[in-house]
Amino acid sequence: MTDSSLVLYGQTIAYTCYAVVIILVIAWFGFAITRKGKGNKVSKTLFYSFVSMLVILGVSLHIVTFNTIPWVSMDLDRKNIQADQVFDISMENHQFILPQEKFVINCGEKVMFNVTSNDLTYGFGLFRQDNSMMFQMQVVPGHVNDILWEFKENGIYTIRSTEYSGPKGHQMIIKDVVHVIGCE
C-alpha cells in the first residue's frame, strides 16, 4: 500500500504550487486595477469557465484520491475484507488498555485496530519514529471504532491519542508498541 508520507509529499507540492500562483495572481491584480487598461470588460465566458473549472476541481479531487490513495476504498469496504490480525484496544481514564505489550505485524498483513472507549471521546493514531503520522481515527464512546491498515514497510510505531479528552489526556502515548517486520 502507498505510504501515507508519500501522499503528504504530493499534497505539499500541489498546495505549495497553488499558494504561490494565487498570491501572484492577487499581487498582479492589485497592481493592474490601479492602472488604466484597454477595455474594461469581463466576459461572461470567462465567468462560466471559471465556475466550470471549480466544479471539475471539486469533484475530481475526490475521484483522484479514491483511485490513488489505497486506504480509501479499503476503509469504505472494510467490513467485507478479512483482516490478517485484529487488535482489540480499550481506552479508559485517559489510558490505553492493550491486549499485549507489543504488536508484531508481518509485512503485507492487513491489520484491524478495533478501539473502544469506556468513557470519553479520544483519538487513535499511529506515528513513525520521526513523529510523522501514519494514520488516525476518532474513538467515540458507545460506538465501533475500527480501522483496517495494510503495512508494507518495516518500522517501529508509537500509539498516541489524537483527540483532546481534557487536560489529563494530552500525553496519552505508548512508545514503540507496533513493530512491522519482514519487508525487504
Binding site: 498546495y15 492602472r35 471549480l54 479531487l61 471521546t121 483527540e163 481534557g166
Partner: protein, 543 residues
C-alpha cells in the same frame, strides 16, 4: 497640535463623540469592544505560540487548555460577532435608507455579547474549565476533570452571547421588513423573499425584459442570508448549553446523571451541524456580503452578474445546512454515505459558492479600474487572498483519503482555520472598518497612513506565514490540541511564533492609529449616553 493634545482629542480634534447619532454611537461601541476582544484573542494566541515552542513553567497545562478553549470563542463571539453585528446593524438600515427597527434592542445585543464573553472568559481564566469549543460528549460533563459550578458559569456566558445573537437576528429581519412610522406600507413578504435570494433565483429563469427589480441591495441579501444561519446556530448552541447545564446543575445538587443517556456520535453530529453554520454558513456568507458591500462602495458600481451572485447565496443556504459531515470523516461509525455526500461532495460546493463570490468581487473591481489603492481596497484584496488560500486547503482536508492523515493536525489550524479567519475574515473586517471609519466618525481623519501600511503588511505576512508554518508542522505529524515537551517541531513553531508576533505588532499599530485618530476622550465618549435622540443614522449636517 502637541502629541498629548492629539492623544487626548484625536487627529486635528476632528472627532467629537457629542455629535454622534445614537446609531453611530452604538455601532462604534460594537466595533471598539470587538477590537479589544480581538486584542485579547491575539494575546492568548501569542501565549499559546510561545507555549508550543517551550511550555511556560508557571503556566500549567490545565491553564494552557483553558486558554485554548477561550481563544476561539473570544475571537469569534467577542470579536467577530461584535464587529460584524455592529457593522450590519448600521449597514442594513443605511442601504435600505430607513431607520433601524430598534436601537434599544441593538444596545441589548451589544451588552449581552460583551458581558457573556467576559463571563465565559473569566470563568475559564479562574477555574480552567476547558472542554474546548467542540464540547465532545461527555467531556463538558466530565466532573472528574472539571468543577460543575465553574462549567455552569462558563456555559451561562455562552448562552448570554447566544441570546444577544437572537436579538440581532430579530432586529435585522424586522428592519428589512417593517414599515417606519409615517411611511407608505412596505411589501414585507417581497422584501424578505428578495433578501434571502429567492428573487435572484427567479430572475435567472426570466427573460431580461421580464426580470424583476431587486428590492434590497445584494449586501443586504447576503446579510439576511447569513443571519438565517446565525439564528439556527444560536438555537443549536443554546439547546446544547441547556443540556450540559442540566448535568451540571444535577451534579451541583448531588445527583450523578448518566452521560451514556446521550449518544456521543449523534451529539457530535448535531453540534457540528450547528457549529458549521458559523464556519461554513454565516462566515462565508457574511464575508461574501461584505466583499459585495466593499466592492460596491469602492467602485460606486453594481455588482457584476448580480442575479447569479444572489442565487448563489440561496444555494449556499442549502450547502451550509448539509455540509457538517466533513468534520466526522475520521469517525468510523459515521455512515459512509454521509461522509461521501455531505462530507465530500456538498463540501466541494463551497469551492464553487465562495469561488463565485471571489470572482464576482474581483470582476466588479476590474470593471471600475483605475482605482486608487486605498486602505479598504488593499485590505479587501488581502481578505480575498485569505479565502483564496484557505478554502482550497479546507476542500483538501474534506476528503476521506487525505483526512485520514490530516485530521486534528496543525494543518487544519494553520492553512485552513487561521488563514481563513486571520487573513480572510479579519482583513475583510479591517477593510470594512477603514471604509466606514469616516462615515461613523463624521469625517475624523486617520492619524497615520504609514501605520496603516504597516498594519496591512505585518498582518498579511504574519497571518499567511503563521498559517504556512503551522501547516508544515501539521504535514510532519504535529497534532493540534496537545503540548509537545521535547521540541519535536521547534523550527516550525519558532517561525510561526515570529509570524504571530508580527500579527500582534500589526494589531498594536492599528489600535494606536485609531486611538490617535479619535483621541482617548473620543473613545471614552462613545460609551457615554447620547444627548441626541434621533433615529437617523447620520447627523443632519453630514447627510
Amino acid at each position: 497640535m502637541s502629541y498629548i493634545q492629539t492623544l487626548m482629542n484625536g487627529e486635528q480634534a476632528l472627532f467629537s463623540a457629542r455629535k454622534l447619532t445614537p446609531m453611530q454611537r452604538i455601532t462604534l461601541r460594537f466595533v471598539v469592544v470587538g477590537i479589544l476582544y480581538y486584542g485579547v484573542a491575539v494575546i492568548e494566541g501569542m501565549i499559546m505560540r510561545i507555549y508550543q515552542i517551550e511550555p511556560i513553567t508557571f503556566l500549567g497545562s490545565d491553564h494552557y487548555f483553558a486558554i485554548l478553549t477561550a481563544h476561539p470563542l473570544v475571537g469569534i463571539f467577542g470579536s467577530t460577532y461584535l464587529i460584524v453585528f455592529g457593522a450590519f446593524l448600521f449597514v442594513v438600515p443605511f442601504l435600505m435608507k430607513k431607520p433601524l427597527w430598534s436601537i434599544k434592542l441593538a444596545n441589548t445585543t451589544f451588552w449581552l455579547i460583551t458581558i457573556g464573553t467576559f463571563v465565559f472568559w473569566f470563568s475559564g481564566f479562574l477555574t480552567h474549565y476547558a472542554p474546548l469549543y467542540t464540547l465532545y460528549w461527555p467531556l463538558p460533563a466530565d466532573f472528574n476533570q472539571f468543577d460543575p459550578l465553574s462549567g455552569a458559569i462558563f456555559i451561562t456566558g455562552i448562552a448570554i452571547v447566544m441570546l444577544g445573537a437572537v436579538f440581532f437576528v430579530i432586529n435585522i429581519f424586522k428592519t428589512i421588513a417593517y414599515t417606519p412610522e409615517g411611511w407608505e406600507k412596505q411589501p414585507s413578504g417581497a422584501l424578505l423573499a428578495d433578501a434571502i435570494g429567492y428573487s435572484g433565483l427567479r430572475n435567472m429563469f426570466r427573460r431580461k425584459s421580464k426580470q424583476k427589480e431587486h428590492l434590497v441591495d445584494i449586501p443586504v441579501a447576503a446579510i439576511a442570508r447569513g443571519t438565517v444561519d446565525t439564528a439556527l446556530n444560536a438555537g443549536i448552541i443554546l439547546f446544547t448549553g441547556v443540556l450540559i447545564l442540566v448535568y451540571m446543575v444535577a451534579a451541583i445538587m448531588g445527583y450523578d446523571l448518566k452521560t451514556t443517556a446521550i449518544d456521543a456520535l449523534l451529539y457530535k453530529n448535531w453540534f457540528w451541524w450547528g457549529l458549521d453554520l458559523i464556519a461554513d454558513g454565516l462566515v462565508l456568507i457574511f464575508v461574501a456580503g461584505t466583499w459585495y458591500l466593499l466592492a460596491m462602495m469602492i467602485t460606486g458600481r453594481k455588482i457584476f452578474m448580480q442575479n447569479i451572485a444572489r442565487a448563489a447565496l440561496l444555494v449556499e443556504l442549502i450547502v451550509s445546512w448539509t455540509v457538517w459531515s466533513h468534520h466526522l470523516l475520521s469517525d468510523q461509525s459515521q455512515p459512509g454515505i454521509l461522509k461521501i455526500v455531505s462530507g465530500e461532495l456538498v463540501t466541494a460546493f463551497e469551492l464553487i459558492t465562495q469561488g463565485l463570490a471571489f470572482f464576482v468581487t474581483l470582476a466588479t473591481l476590474w470593471l471600475a479600474r483605475p482605482l486608487k489603492m486605498t486602505n479598504e481596497l488593499k485590505f479587501l484584496l488581502g481578505g480575498l487572498l485569505g479565502f483564496g488560500l484557505a478554502v482550497p486547503a479546507g476542500i483538501m482536508q474534506a476528503d476521506i483519503g487525505l483526512n485520514r492523515i490530516l485530521h486534528n493536525t496543525q494543518w487544519i489550524m494553520g492553512p485552513h482555520v487561521h488563514v481563513a479567519i486571520l487573513v480572510g475574515l479579519t482583513m475583510t473586517l479591517y477593510a470594512a472598518i477603514y471604509l466606514l471609519f469616516p462615515l461613523l466618525t463624521n469625517g475624523a481623519k486617520l492619524y497615520s497612513q504609514k501605520l496603516a501600511n504597516f498594519h496591512f503588511w505585518a498582518h498579511l505576512i504574519g497571518g499567511i506565514g503563521m498559517g504556512a508554518f503551522m501547516g508544515m508542522a501539521g504535514l510532519q505529524g504535529m497534532l493540534r490540541r496537545t503540548i509537545y515537551y521535547e521540541g519535536e517541531f521547534n523550527l516550525y513553531m519558532i517561525l510561526a511564533g515570529i509570524c504571530g508576533f508580527m500579527l500582534l505588532l500589526a494589531f498594536l499599530a492599528f489600535l494606536y492609529n485609531i486611538i490617535m485618530s479619535v483621541g482617548v476622550k473620543g473613545v471614552l465618549g462613545i460609551f457615554m449616553p447620547s444627548p441626541n435622540k434621533t433615529k437617523d443614522l447620520l447627523p443632519a449636517e453630514t447627510k
